[in-house]
């Protein structure tokens, strides 16, 4: 069953409107609907249609290839959706071939290889055909839905477009009024349903985003972080290089790159309360993102980082204003300064423009002064011992820094602790040795006890310059935590971990680290080439690769035989290609004899039939025998040189004479005809 007039055109216009390809949709609609006004059709053979389908496949693969090559801009998910949005264009040659073909349908074996394999023996199986118009209509609607244009118009258009074919295929058992009423109910139910589904997802996102983040493999969870506070034994991190940083050469000042910060501590875990992520709009160039308002200096550093699954948290300095040349699909930032990106390539490169002392974090609140009850007595006691309450903020910072620098040691090993105290209290009161999480947590809580808003930050400390790569490399063991303090109206880094931690971590490096670095450098160079190549010349020219495909399609269409279709009767004849000698007058003899009941057996060749007739009816062989006429007929039918005009005329005259003689044969002959 084919789609009613204008339905495909309307669907294509709707698709073009939703996917912002209106011009392509309008042209495609015009192409398909014009077929109803034009009478000529193509006599596509099965092989022609297979070629058209091959062109569709190549178009599809070309689109997929193009999107794969430019996926660093769009992101993998968006690329898949875009490919689906473009799919009606890829299938357009096939549906056009169907609508402009004399058959009006497509053999299933054209589309499916499995059916083609089954139908290898011609004649044994009737051809299974399909009308692609309704599937194409459905494809247009689904492709239109792959875009995201918020508002009621998509749903309204969808209901109207679906009501059209539903009216055509409706059951005549029920009244049109009932049909309309039920359809209206369905539309209302669908509307309520899709609002419910949408709200359900938003609710799930709100409550389970942390779970999703863990599922997708994000290393940093912007909502909470487990510390190793209280863990017994040695804390050991990997030597894998996770970041590279280009600051234009060796720079002696160390840099802290923050990934996330947290404002609530409880039982060796830090949590981010009410972080509420907000989307960060990109600048018109699509790769520049402003995360904080304010004047920006020139680019300070360029960071290279791997993104697992195309999404992750960016490591950024505290004073970042703008991120440049970052090819990701979307960016979100929470109130505590964590920047989450999605739809990025495997390796991202971004430049950082910093400015001033201000940070991107939200102003301090009550949570930034809270101290957990379990830690409060010890913290209060130490704060009192240090006399923090009576000091100005800058002096407090100096006191606290001095407290940790003089009385504490950096250690990645923790012995068994007292069960009576918390791990942090044990660190502050007895062991006085720990890794950075102890120092950062204790610092934050002490500062809060002194009335200075403070947060716990995690990220990396940039400290190792690689002569091999001429870049700073950041390893997993360089992961660090420190405090953020709100002093002088701005959030500032405050790191109290003894500087010896850098040396201690360096000494823990294995002997094969150099070898690993060489391998890692090679892999990095390859990744950089791979992704930077897409941004360069190749992706610009990928579109041109599609041109040969269209040329092939046009060539195939141009050389296919075109036949006129004036009416249904003529069309039927045009489907069967006329055979040479089809108009031979010998057919009249065959037809006349058949009327007389002297029919040829299905397996009997004409020559054998004529022999049989002349034996049983000798009068047929007299004068101008059937054999002679048959020889002329055979030559007309099969001789590549055909008949001369005189011979052609001779065939015509002889047949006429033979038929006249048959009609005027003697009665004695007539009586025996039926017994032949």
């Amino acid at each position: 069953m084919s789609a009613p007039p204008l339905l495909l055109g309307a669907a294509l216009l709707f698709w073009g409107w939703q996917t912002e390809l209106f011009l392509a949709g309008a042209v495609a609609a015009l192409l398909l609907e014009a077929g109803r006004l034009i009478s000529w059709r193509f006599a596509f053979s099965h092989d022609d249609l297979k070629r058209v389908w091959s062109v569709c496949t190549i178009l599809f693969l070309g689109m997929a290839g193009y999107l794969a090559l430019t996926t660093n801009v769009q992101g993998a998910t968006r690329a898949v959706l875009t490919m689906f949005q473009w799919y009606p264009l890829a299938v357009l040659p096939m549906i056009a071939a169907q609508l402009y073909s004399t058959a009006g349908t497509i053999d299933l074996s054209t589309l499916f290889l499995t059916v083609r394999r089954k139908d290898t023996t011609p004649g044994l199986r009737p051809a299974r055909t399909i009308d692609l118009s309704y599937p194409y209509f459905a494809l247009c609607l689904l492709s239109a839905s792959a875009s995201y244009v918020w508002g009621p118009w998509f749903y309204i258009g969808l209901c109207l477009l679906l009501a059209w074919p539903l009216w055509v295929v409706r059951s005549k058992t029920f009244s049109p009024l009932l049909w309309a009423g039920v359809l209206a109910s369905v539309a209302v139910l669908g509307y309520v349903g899709h609002l419910g589904v949408h709200n359900l997802q938003r609710s799930l996102e709100r409550n389970l985003i942390a779970w999703f983040a863990g599922l997708s493999g994000d290393r940093v969870d912007p909502y909470q972080t487990h510390t190793a506070i209280g863990s017994i034994g040695t804390v050991k991190l990997s030597d894998r290089i996770v970041l590279r940083l280009d600051s234009g050469g060796r720079d002696q000042t160390s840099l802290l790159l923050r990934e996330a910060s947290y404002n609530r501590y409880y039982d060796a875990m830090w949590f981010a309360r009410d972080p509420s992520f907000q989307a960060v709009p990109s600048e018109p160039d699509g790769t520049t993102w402003t995360v904080r308002s304010g004047p920006a200096s020139g680019r300070s550093v360029t960071v290279y980082a791997h993104l697992k699954g195309g999404r992750g948290i960016l490591a950024l300095p505290n004073s970042v204003v703008q991120i440049e040349e970052l090819a990701v699909g979307s960016m979100k930032q929470n109130r505590l300064g964590a920047v989450h990106v999605e739809e990025g390539p495997g390796l991202i490169t971004y430049g950082i423009r910093s400015g001033g002392d201000a940070s991107r974090d939200s102003p301090p609140g009550a949570r930034d002064l809270s101290i957990p009850e379990a830690e409060a007595p010890v913290i209060a006691r130490i704060a009192a011992d240090l006399g923090l309450r009576s000091q100005p903020p800058r002096e407090i910072l100096r006191t606290v820094a001095g407290f940790f620098q003089t009385d504490f040691q950096y250690s990645t090993f923790q012995a068994d602790a007292s069960v009576k105290r918390t791990a942090l209290s044990e660190f502050l009161l007895r062991s006085r040795a720990g890794h950075c999480e102890y120092f950062a947590t204790a610092t934050v809580l002490l500062l809060r006890a002194a009335g200075i808003p403070a947060r716990y930050a995690i990220g990396y400390s940039v400290q190792e310059f690689s002569d091999l790569e001429d870049l700073y490399v950041v390893r997993a063991r360089h992961a660090h935590s420190w405090a953020l303090v709100y002093v002088d109206g701005a959030w500032q880094n405050f790191d109290t971990t003894p500087v010896s931690w850098v040396q201690i971590e360096q000494e823990a490096a294995p002997w094969w680290e150099r070898l690993y670095d060489v391998w890692s450098w090679g892999a990095f160079r390859f990744s950089k080439w791979r992704w930077s190549e897409r941004e360069g010349g190749l992706s610009t020219y990928v579109g041109w690769l599609l041109i040969p495909l269209f040329v092939i399609l046009a060539w195939r269409l141009y050389f296919v035989k075109r036949v006129a279709r004036a009416g249904p009767e003529e069309q039927r004849h045009s489907v069967l290609c006329p055979l040479a000698g089809e108009d031979s007058e010998f057919r009249l003899i065959e037809q006349r004899l058949q009327e007389l009941g002297v029919s040829r057996h299905p397996w009997e060749p004409l020559s054998r039939w004529v022999e049989r007739l002349e034996v049983s009816q000798p009068w047929m062989g007299a004068a101008d025998s059937l054999q002679r006429i048959l020889r002329l007929h055979y030559r007309y039918r099969f001789d590549p040189n055909g008949l001369s005009l005189a011979e052609r005329e001779s065939l015509r005259v002889r047949v006429q004479e033979w038929l006249e003689r048959l009609d005027h044969r003697p009665a004695s002959h007539e009586s025996g005809q039926v017994t032949l």
């Binding site: 609607l141 792959a146 009932l178 109910s185 349903g193």
Partner: protein, 449 residues
């Protein structure tokens, strides 16, 4: 592995069957759209496909609800012919009595056939022809085999038929039909009357049990007028076997004409005298008796070659004129069979019924057929042998028949892609009676007999 997968394949087939019957084509398209939009609309903040999903979901749910409301009190009668033929349209009538007090409109009718799904043992033990050429996954899972077994067990596929409007307490009749694809029996279990929902997507059913069978006889080819080899032989007990007493030169008596008597036996003078046809009776001792030998010996449970051999045998059974001669159909199934027709003894349809049900013999040697033929060779005028191969055992049979001076017509049915020509062997002296028929070109081969 096939044993483990069997219940899952059964389940998949059940779902497919249910969907094909319950959904209209438009409904299947909507269902496909529903699945596609569900996948596409997983993230409601990226695409609008979730709106398509909810609309289609509601549409199908409403359709489903409407289908549950279909009720009708019906009585159905199916009027079947005695036989159908493979490849030929089989038409029959179905009468539907509406016992309700309201008219029924816009209904369709579906036939419920016996479940064609194979048993677990059948599935495990019956390989599909050509299965060895399939890839390892297909061979291990056996889905192509499953599909093939279902199509083999399903003798015919009967399309849905539209029912005319049936008035309250009235009668509607529909001319149903199908084209049987295999010989055997079409087994009906019942009739289902369906009503689509207002959108024409999903159907509500009312089923009426109505078990019936119809026999599908093999496909038959057109044979040229052939002169069967052989001369008349003495028939032991021939008098008892024939309706007319015989046709030797020794005149016995006169009797009234019976259908099937040769015209040349009519005694014209007596007819003129009595006023009704009278025929001469002769001493019955000699008449022609041909054997139609069907080779059933193959390892596979099914093959196209075997099916074509059965069709060729059926073609001969229909074409050989049995008014004046006898025809013995010989083959070996679970036991050795010899079915005789001709000269009023039996009718051709008896042979066709037998051929409709003949199955390959996988557990006995060819020699069992050899013995059957040799036992009866004394009375045979000639043999038409339809073989599935041309090996030593079959050639030995032909040699023995030649020794016994029984002329033979040998037809070897082979696969279409068998490249080599067959050596005539014992048929070298009489190559005009030796023919190879390729599957797919059987009719052309028979035309050259």
């Amino acid at each position: 592995m096939k044993r483990v997968l069997y219940p899952y394949l059964r389940l998949v087939s059940s779902i497919q069957y249910w969907m094909q019957r319950r959904f209209t084509k438009a409904g299947l398209l909507v269902l496909t759209g529903l699945v596609a939009s569900a996948v596409l609309g997983l993230d409601t903040t990226r695409t609008m496909a979730y709106q398509v999903f909810t609309f289609l979901f509601c549409l199908l749910m409403v359709s489903l609800a409407f289908s549950l409301s279909f009720r009708a009190r019906l009585a159905v009668e199916r009027i079947l012919p005695q036989f159908g033929t493979v490849g030929q349209p089989l038409s029959y009538r179905i009468r539907v009595h509406n016992r309700d007090h309201r008219a029924l409109r816009g209904l369709t009718l579906l036939e419920d056939l016996i479940d064609p799904r194979p048993s677990r043992e059948e599935f495990v033990r019956t390989p599909e022809p050509g299965e060895e050429r399939r890839n390892r996954f297909d061979r291990a899972v056996g889905y192509p085999r499953w599909r093939w077994l279902i199509s083999r067990n399903r003798t015919a596929v009967i399309e849905e038929h539209a029912l005319p409007s049936i008035p309250a307490q009235g009668l509607g009749e529909v001319l149903a039909g199908c084209v049987p694809s295999r010989r055997g029996q079409v087994r009906f279990a019942g009739v289902t009357v369906a009503r689509p929902d207002p959108f024409g997507l999903f159907k509500g059913f009312v089923s009426v049990p109505l078990p019936q069978n119809v026999l599908i006889i093999p496909k038959r080819y057109v044979l040229p007028q052939i002169q069967l080899p052989g001369t008349r032989r003495y028939q032991h007990g021939g008098v008892a076997l024939a309706s007319s007493v015989g046709d030797s030169d020794e005149f016995v008596s006169l009797r009234e004409y019976r259908p099937g008597d040769p015209l040349r036996h009519i005694h014209w003078k007596s007819w003129a005298r009595v006023g009704k046809p009278i025929v001469k009776e002769h001493q019955s001792e000699f008449f022609v008796r041909h054997a139609l030998i069907l080779d059933t010996f193959q390892e596979a449970e099914h093959s196209d070659v075997f099916e074509e051999a059965v069709s060729v045998a059926a073609s001969f059974a229909c074409t050989v004129r049995t008014q004046e001669s006898l025809l013995d159909l010989m083959f070996v199934g679970p036991e050795a069979y010899c079915e005789t027709v001709g000269r009023g003894l039996g009718r051709t349809d008896t042979l066709l019924k037998v051929l409709a049900c003949v199955r390959p013999c996988t557990n006995r040697p060819f020699e069992s057929l050899h013995h059957l033929i040799i036992e009866r060779s004394a009375s045979l005028s000639g043999c038409i042998c339809i073989f599935l191969s041309w090996d030593d055992a079959r050639q030995n049979l032909i040699k023995n028949l030649h020794v016994l001076d029984i002329p033979t017509l040998v037809l070897i049915i082979t696969e279409a892609d068998m490249p080599l020509a067959l050596a005539p062997g014992p048929m070298t002296a009489t190559t005009q009676g030796f023919h190879r028929l390729e599957v797919g070109k059987i009719q052309e081969g028979l035309a050259n007999l």
